[in-house]
């Protein structure tokens, strides 16, 4: 008897569901960064507003990467419903703290996903996830560096103005290239 399930897609129902959940997480991240960008704009933190806007675009690209993967393998990629986006933040520092927390959550999600793939012996998806796991190293690094500026520069006086300017200079370099 023909294997119709496998002919439709190589993704198991479990992995397909988990990938769709991750699509939703990335969409939520994208929308959250957009809200952060808006908040920074309203408070006059011009550079940070641009920084979060750029992050928002990147998260959408992550979402599409996952989305296209599910589609390409014959699965059902679900356009996610995005709800509960926090629009208000207590302080400039609070925005960056929430951003780091979000990236940590995303890293944990990808670790769990990779674990499931390993257990399900889905090495194709496991391999696909390597890019994201690597990307999360950079994402966490940048978010952590940004938050550290609040201690390094200090918020007193023109501190927040300086912090905002310094955000633009953060870049990730794992030392491998030069």
């Amino acid at each position: 008897m023909k294997d119709l399930l496998r002919m439709r897609t190589s993704l198991s129902e479990e992995i397909e569901t988990l990938l769709n959940e991750q699509i939703k997480v990335e969409a939520h991240s994208s929308a959250t960064y957009l809200a952060m960008s808006s908040w920074c704009n309203r408070q006059g933190f011009d550079v940070s507003a641009d920084y979060f806007m750029k992050q928002s675009h990147e998260e959408r690209e992550h979402m599409l990467k996952l989305f296209n993967y599910v589609s390409d393998l014959g699965g059902h990629a679900i356009s996610p419903e995005v709800v509960n986006i926090p629009q208000e933040y207590d302080s400039f520092r609070d925005v960056f703290e929430k951003a780091l927390q979000q990236e940590i959550f995303v890293t944990q999600q990808f670790n769990r996903l990779a674990d499931h793939c390993m257990k399900a012996k889905d090495f194709v998806t496991f391999n696909f996830l390597q890019w994201f796991l690597q990307e999360q190293v950079e994402e966490e690094y940048v978010a952590r560096r940004a938050l550290e500026l609040f201690d390094v520069i200090g918020e007193e006086g023109t501190g927040r103005y300086e912090i905002d300017k310094a955000i633009r200079k953060i870049s990730y370099d794992n030392g491998g290239d030069e």
Binding site: M1, K2, D3, L4, L5, R6, M7
Partner: protein, 117 residues
């Protein structure tokens, strides 16, 4: 209707059956007095939908509208009007069929090799 040789019974209960059609690469679901075809993805959608029906809510909600669940599967002529018992029977049927499909996949992976058989 496809010829019987193309139709394999995947799972049967006292209240229905699911067949695989190797000619059209689809499944036939026989339940509640009718038989209808579903493409693979549509069958999986149907199963997810039926699994998600809140039977506890149907049981405790006294409103008459909650006595039945109206199910209109995508891309299908069929419309199911299910009582609580029928929902449970339908769930059992679809879950059993899905398990047999998964088993068939495992057998294929273990036994089927175009190069050797």
């Amino acid at each position: 209707m496809p010829t019987p040789t193309n139709l394999h019974e995947l799972f049967r209960t006292a209240f229905g059956a699911v067949y695989q059609c190797n000619r059209y690469n689809c499944y036939f679901v026989e339940f509640a007095g009718g038989i209808s075809p579903f493409k693979v993805a549509d069958f999986l959608d149907l199963k997810q939908h039926v699994d998600a029906i809140n039977v506890a809510e149907m049981a405790k909600n006294p409103a008459r509208a909650a006595d039945v669940y109206v199910l209109m599967p995508n891309r299908s002529e069929r419309c199911f009007v299910l009582t609580l018992t029928e929902v449970l029977r339908f769930q059992e049927l679809l879950q059993g069929a899905k398990a047999m499909m998964a088993l068939n996949s495992i057998l294929h992976e273990c036994l089927y090799s175009p190069a050797y058989c």
